[in-house]
Symmetry: C2
Subunit: 446 residues, 2 copies
């Protein structure tokens, strides 16, 4: 079994970078992280691969052309592309060469580091001087539903007598989402219009701006290596196909969803926008934070054989803490900081990323480099760990309290939602995912 890159020298907690600020106390991006993204310097046109240390972007394409990446010499074509797709397609050994090379060139000692440091003005770009975009061309986006707490809570609202359907404990439930409307953190989200069920006393549905706009806190998993159409991916090798993870806000219009979703699932309630954090945390960077699959409850079945491997059960889940904050227009005006709405952990998902990937390809469906799998809303067992307003407010019935006497049943215009994620493990340096941020714009002209 190949777990997708185990713990190695690049994870050593003793490593420090020569890049200023890389090890500031609160940064998500120390040398042990080395996330991948696509950026351009402001007022230039060329999109380039980069990594991030503290508040600094390191230009990977420039490092490559300056021959500052000791082991990645043969990968120049991959590393000078304007998206991550070629690197993703190249497979795990190319990913490992890049990480190893970046770690050597950006640490505070050694020949490779000295050479890189001598070129610091060529390769370093302050985050504030750069623009970021979605790092990969996403061919297909699939959203799963892997939190049994979320599925149970939502199911109870739509089907009080039958909250968790009989398939849930056997099938990693997922559905296809929309790739075209995936946007990068910071992109405003326009409140969508849509059809909603007839009001009491009416026999006609309405069409207008959603009154129940929500967020969903998820992780996104990027596919690296492809499988051929018709060929499956065994659970044992699934981690080799996983390139990295990011934050995903699966914006949802609950009133549209309730009216449209039978019998073929959510459609316009979701596809008006999905927001991604810009930095992909590689599967290798996440190695120290892999943990046992969720302990199933008494009476829950074991996964079917095609979804079971001892290693996946032992270390296939991700110990990633996900927080959601909200800041309203009023809070910004009053100078108040964002208010935390929830904190949950991806280790509590009922299905591991490898199980989702293996299930997805179990019928021969071909996954391509750059395809995105969403985890589904990451909710835990407690109220404070519910990853969307639908759950937190019990379908709007119990609004959450914000500072300044504001309350929220669902999102209002001007609300900004900020998601963050961090990974901690004893003996390892904490790494983070950065932010996934989006503000609600009014619906605008009819």
């Amino acid at each position: 079994m190949n777990s997708g890159g185990g713990i190695n020298e690049t994870h050593d907690s003793g490593l420090r970078s020569w890049v200023a600020g890389a090890h500031d106390a609160k940064t998500d991006f120390p040398l042990q992280n080395l996330p991948l993204g696509v950026f351009r310097r402001r007022a230039t046109r060329e999109w380039r691969l980069g990594t991030r240390l503290g508040e600094t972007i390191v230009d990977i394409a420039a490092m490559c052309s300056l021959e500052l990446l000791p082991d990645a010499g043969s990968d120049a074509r991959l590393l000078s592309a304007p998206t991550l797709n070629p690197l993703m397609a190249a497979g795990q050994s190319a990913w490992q060469r890049l990480r190893a090379s970046l770690s050597l060139a950006l640490r505070d000692a050694g020949i490779a580091a000295e050479r890189a440091r001598a070129h610091s003005s060529d390769i370093l770009v302050p985050v504030v001087d750069a623009e970021l975009r979605i790092a990969a061309d996403i061919g297909d986006y699939t959203d799963f539903y892997a939190s049994i707490h979320h599925a149970t809570n939502v199911g109870a609202m739509f089907r009080p007598d039958n909250p968790l359907l009989p398939n849930y404990r056997w099938v990693p439930i997922g559905y296809h989402g929309r790739a075209s409307s995936i946007v990068i953190s910071g992109t405003p989200v326009r409140r969508p219009r849509g059809q909603t069920a007839p009001a009491t006393g009416s026999d006609r549905p309405q069409f207008g701006p959603t009154g129940r706009l929500d967020y969903e806190a998820e992780l996104g998993f990027f596919v690296g290596s492809a499988n051929t159409l018709g060929a499956r991916i065994p659970i044992e090798t699934a981690p080799m196909h996983l390139f990295g993870a990011c934050l995903l806000n699966d914006w949802s219009a609950r009133d549209i969803q309730a009216w449209e979703y039978q019998p073929l699932g959510p459609f316009l309630a979701k596809n008006f926008a999905s927001t991604l954090s810009p930095w992909i945390i590689t599967w290798e960077a996440l190695a120290p934070f892999r943990t046992a699959a969720m302990q199933r409850a008494e009476g829950d079945p074991a996964p079917l054989p095609y979804l079971f491997s001892a290693e996946d059960q032992r270390s296939g889940a991700l110990n990633v803490d996900v927080t959601v904050e909200l800041r309203s227009a009023g809070m910004r005006q009053r100078g108040e900081p964002p208010a935390r709405l929830s904190q949950s952990n991806a280790a509590g998902l009922y299905w591991t990323p490898a199980q989702m990937l293996t299930h997805h390809a179990s019928n021969g469906c071909n996954l391509r480099p750059g395809d995105l799998l969403g985890s589904g809303t990451i909710s835990g067992a407690s109220k404070e760990s519910q990853g969307c307003l639908l759950e937190l407010t019990n379908r709007g019935a119990l609004p959450v309290q914000l500072p300044g006497n504001e309350t929220r049943a669902f999102l209002e215009d001007g609300d900004e939602v900020v998601m963050r994620a961090r990974c901690t493990a004893p003996g390892f340096v904490t790494i983070g995912f950065g932010e996934c941020r989006g503000i609600i714009d009014p619906a605008g002209e009819p």
Copy 2:
């Protein structure tokens, strides 16, 4: 209102082409059709735009570089691309210029035609000497559910007490499908494996090859012009965004579908393969075959205002006859011709293509050039017009009879499904869509 190109000189039934066989009695591809596709000459690598007359492909890229397209001189970049996406993105006037130019250069008289004919060896390729692929990069694929007969028949199987859900008559129901597994006509389809519900007396689902493999006869509609994320597409201008149509076989595994589809819709039951016919029949070519939207039944509501335009009601549906034939391995061995399973017509769909497109973008979802919309299974009111085996066999209970004493409840290995479509209208030359063909390969190694 712009209906996406009305009837004009290119539709004139008197036109004849100089290309041999273009007006053979049974061809789908007379000069009045001029479908668009992407082909390459066998044993060459370069994919090129082409059109088709009879059994001959006409190389549009070669015509362009030889300056044989009188009005398309400024479109060289679009016409020499290896996919239709640049042409799709260029908008309706570019599409009209191309059709007008092809019609002039390929008819049996005139200066443009004489010049083209002088280059016939450079621009003509027999169909048998060429290979075809999907003509556009499909960013997102959406499948609708626009036949009320299909929705009612299927609904009655899954929900006998509640066959047609309350939203159906108001919402053009659709869901996102899988773009990666869309294949060209002629590609074998491997029988998928998947989870199916526990058998009677068991408490565990099974995992194995589907026993209820089905086809679905649909039309696919290609999006041409894009809309910006957040901007809607009014029903009045929707036809300007529609580039063309093809046949679509939405292969379905009914046992996998029944177990997985709640609550988020079909997923692995569908995404193992969807087959397209290679030639895109342009929206302009279909102008003579536009017809009134389906007459709604007494008591059915009028479409909501955003889905209503007088012109769409008057002429927004497509009068396209769709047939399905099946030929088993045994029938091939015995030299028997394919057996017709059904014949239906897209004019009987409850929603028009413009309504589907406008609904899709009604929340601001951005549609991109090359995106594909499926109509959903095209079934009519009669038994003979049911577009999938699930309906024809009443969920497998009443197998259909094939020649040679064979019967089919669902598809068996070696079965080949062939869909065809034709358009007829008084005073106009009949045009067709060609074939959408696929044969079932065994599931293979576990």
